[in-house]
């Protein structure tokens, strides 16, 4: 089995402007934030199509002007309903938008994973999702008079996911309560970059969770990045929960241009180690800094 480990810089250097990039996780949960932060450091990486159940990944990339087109089911920070960076970009008309019902979005990933053009689904009929996405078509059942939405496949050039554990060849494990749709993202993509809290020897994969937690196989994975606290400030249960104080700081800063400049300088204009030092500083008791 090949060793697919890579530095975060090398992994993200393989991304190119104009690509369609799927980002795993859900809202403000188990987002590959370390990879997203590295994408923000790549000033030349623009014109992206981002496909996600969005959280701060979408907010940050949208605010940095990296997203041309956003394909999503929702964008939310969970405990804070809306991401201010995303809503502002959207209200300024800066993004091309494909907004889907959540089930439609999953069906689009399933279609791509199965190398089909589309899959039928009932969701969307009668709603304004159809007129808002004029490329959508319906399909007549060959067996009855029923009509369904022909949800087009959402094929990805690259998927980015963050997992609890992976081995060096890319077998990926979730230890939290919910796998989200990370395996579907991986199967819908030409290649997948997995960041993981820990890269462990293959024989240790079952030491923390049963075989049911082995979410997807190295067959789908091209690159493995060890990124401890790589989902921060989103959740990575059971390794850590959401950093609610920091998320509040993110959302509050995002609403004010001056505060955002300071946030950007403090947390984003630095490398991954610098980010985590700045977060530690943020949490240090007053006077301790």
């Amino acid at each position: 089995m090949s060793d697919k480990r890579s530095s975060i810089e090398e992994a993200v250097a393989s991304l190119e402007s104009g690509m369609t990039i799927g980002i795993g996780g859900w809202g403000s949960r188990r987002k590959p934030m370390a990879l997203v932060r590295e994408m923000l450091r790549r000033d030349d990486l623009t014109d992206l199509t981002v496909v996600a159940f969005g959280g701060p990944d979408v907010g940050l990339l949208a605010a940095a002007g990296r997203i041309r087109r956003l394909v999503y089911g929702f964008v939310s920070l969970d405990s804070i309903p809306l991401d201010p960076l995303f809503t502002r970009a959207r209200e300024q008309g800066l993004l091309e938008i494909e907004e889907y019902d959540e089930g439609m979005f999953v069906t689009g990933l399933r279609a791509a994973a199965a190398r089909l053009d589309f899959l039928p689904i009932r969701a969307g009929l009668g709603s304004d999702v159809l007129p808002a996405n004029p490329h959508l078509r319906t399909v007549r059942s060959p067996y009855s008079d029923a009509e369904y939405v022909a949800m087009p496949a959402l094929p990805l050039d690259v998927a980015l996911v963050h997992m609890n554990r992976a081995d060096q060849s890319g077998n990926a494990q979730f230890l939290g309560p919910d796998p989200y749709f990370d395996d579907l993202f991986a199967m819908a993509a030409q290649r997948t970059i997995v960041s993981a809290e820990q890269v462990v020897p293959t024989e240790d994969l079952l030491s923390e969770g049963s075989f049911h937690t082995l979410l997807f196989s190295r067959m789908y994975v091209s690159t493995v990045v060890e990124a401890p606290r790589g989902a921060h400030f989103t959740t990575c249960e059971p390794d850590y929960g959401r950093d609610e104080a920091f998320q509040r700081h993110y959302a509050t800063s995002a609403k004010d241009p001056d505060a955002w400049q300071l946030f950007d300088r403090t947390f984003l204009q630095t490398d991954e180690a610098g980010y985590h030092r700045a977060v530690a500083q943020f949490h240090a008791p007053e006077g301790d800094a």
Binding site: L82, G93, A123, G126, P177, D178, Y180, F181
Partner: protein
């Protein structure tokens, strides 16, 4: 213990009543009052409904923070997000959702305010509303009934209303009721929102004034008050810390 129910408690009982004929379905509830309504129904009139912890687990019963010595409900099933979509497609689910806008045919909007191309306010997105309304019963909960929410037409149909569902021949479309802090509504044979009951102590004219489309309040009955046992369960067992009054003030 007083038997005078608060407005919040009346709303909880009205939410619980949405499960009377539901049978063995997954109860999905958004908001404090709807969540308490589903839990109350589980303990009273609808013991077969399936509750979740709001995350990935199905629970054998409601959390009971008022019973200090009670054990936590058992996990009886695993339902991560992917399974939720599978469950709703089978129809074995019932939702009570919120709404940023709701029109006279029960079309609901949670996506955006203004134009699609350049919204004045981007909201959460349609989320699961199109799929929920295409697949199983959906009720709505409005904690602050106003003419900004009850509008003539919504800006982006997320949850499908009765007129749209008929046009699209949605076989499994089923809108139940709308519970607000003022009244309970259902739908007439033409699919239009109509008053089912007005909460005790609420002036019927205030319901008319707070609704942005024509509504007839003449002869509306009062919403039922929860009985003594329901009040005991709400106050002492399910919500001893009174979180319900933060969503609907006493």
């Amino acid at each position: 213990m007083t038997t005078d129910a608060t407005l919040a408690e009346i709303c909880i009982a009205a939410c619980a009543d949405t499960y009377l004929d539901s049978g063995e379905i997954l109860a999905h509830a958004v908001g404090v009052i709807p969540t308490l309504g589903a839990r109350l129904a589980k303990l009273t009139s609808a013991p077969d409904i399936v509750l979740t912890d709001g995350e990935a687990f199905l629970l054998s019963g409601p959390p009971t923070p008022g019973l200090a010595d009670a054990s936590a409900p058992a996990v009886e099933g695993w339902a991560p997000f992917r399974r939720i979509f599978d469950i709703l497609a089978t129809g074995r689910r019932q939702s009570m959702m919120g709404a940023s806008q709701l029109d006279a045919f029960g079309n609901q909007n949670i996506s955006l305010i203004g134009d699609w191309d350049r919204p004045t306010r981007q909201l959460i997105g349609v989320r699961g509303a199109p799929g929920n309304t295409a697949n199983h019963r959906v009720d709505y909960w409005i904690s602050r009934h106003s003419a900004r929410i009850f509008v003539e037409s919504v800006d982006m149909v997320s949850g499908v209303g009765n007129d749209r569902a008929r046009q699209a021949s949605l076989q499994f479309h089923h809108l139940g009721v709308i519970v607000t802090n003022l009244a309970v509504f259902d739908y007439d044979t033409a699919g239009r929102v109509k008053v089912r009951s007005i909460h005790p102590g609420v002036d019927p004219q205030s319901v008319v004034d707070a609704t942005g489309f024509a509504i007839d309040v003449a002869g509306s009955p009062e919403t039922r008050r929860p009985d003594a046992e329901e009040l005991r369960l709400i106050r002492d067992v399910l919500d001893p810390r009174g979180s319900r009054s933060r969503e609907v003030a006493d």
